[in-house]
């Protein structure tokens, strides 16, 4: 994964939000990252640290809310916690599920002044 692209996008989103709300300093950024979003968190942190210099994010605390993966079996409708991107339903033993949470990759909110 190219966490740099994601970090760049996060900086843009935060800057736009701050500007729209006439904020001059960002104190905290809350991210929601699903366990199946395919993001390497340490790499994302490193990317953000290097990109935030000279931006409104410098010094802001980056909080990451991890969203657990939940799969919905397409065959029997059972909801379960998948181990990975593909897993067997514990109820009916079949492959094929829709991931209903765990792929999130979003900026939830910012705290700014």
């Amino acid at each position: 994964m190219h966490e740099f692209t994601l970090a760049k996008n996060i900086v843009e989103i935060v800057e736009e939000t701050a500007q729209k709300n006439h904020a001059t300093r960002v104190l905290e950024v809350v991210l929601e990252v699903g366990t199946l979003a395919g993001v390497e968190l340490p790499a994302l942190e490193m990317a953000l640290e290097s990109l935030e210099q000279g931006t409104i994010l410098v010094g802001a605390v980056i909080k990451k809310n991890i969203i657990d993966a939940v799969a919905l079996c397409n065959q029997c409708g059972c909801k379960y916690k998948p181990d990975d991107y593909y897993s067997i339903c514990p109820e009916c033993g079949k492959f094929g599920a829709t991931i209903i949470s765990g792929k999130e990759l979003r900026v939830k909110s910012i705290t700014a002044e």
Binding site: M1, H2, E3, F4, T5, L6, K8, N9, I10, V11, E12, I13, V14, E15, T17, A18, Q19, N21, H22, A23, T24, R25, L27, L31, G38, M46, A47, S50, L51, G54, T55, I56, N74, D84, Y85, Y86, F95, G96, L105, R106, V107, K108, S109, I110, T111, A112, E113
Partner: protein, 259 residues
Amino acid sequence: MCDTCGCSSGQDEFTLHTLSKEEPHNHEHHHHANEHHDHIQANKKVIPVETDILAKNNLLAERNRGFFEAKKIIAINLVSSPGSGKTTLLERLILVLKTTHQIYVIEGDQQTMSDAKRIEATGVKVVQINTGSGCHLDAHMVNHAVKALEPEDNSILLIENVGNLVCPALFDLGEEKRIVIASTTEGEDKPLKYPNIFQSANLCVLNKIDLLPYLDFDLTVFKENLQKVKPGMPLIELSAKSGEGLTKLIEYLESLLVL
């Protein structure tokens, strides 16, 4: 900066090459820090954002999609690892398809115009995107490339993504269908190792079946692995070199035009 490791080599830069006498144009975005000097007492507040980090790309992808729909252009995003035979497959496909349809091609690579030149030799209009240090095509690049191509209505647009089984998975280009190309020389485990990209695709093509007699590749295991990752995923086995199985892919593409 390099998308993967952050080394400075030009942020957000890609080069679009048309195969005419035009100079290639570089496309650069420079992000400048906002500098506000607001002396009014400000209050600390929590501002909800609720924005997908890939929202911008997705929005532009939908714009591309709208353009394609309006002009009845079938856009196909071809993804695979480097060396799977994407370009050879395209060359073979184009030679057949161009007799009945207008074809346009977008080539994506980090460097060189090799692939675009190969496609140009088939007689169709092509543009080459060089991503520099970038590892995938995105909707923004495709948007520019489509404007350079000026495709006609009722045509087929084939987008050959940067050879990479990881990054292109996340980037919607606005395509109608995404085809993931695996090859027999890569081993049966690729769907399991790169589930994201296989799940994101609508069709899997297994290339280089002409080499099966010389390899330990287990076709049954490959099919099982594919079905584990994306149950119901259709598979077309073919050889771009010998032409075997090519008609099935042509039929698949033509069925999209009818819809």
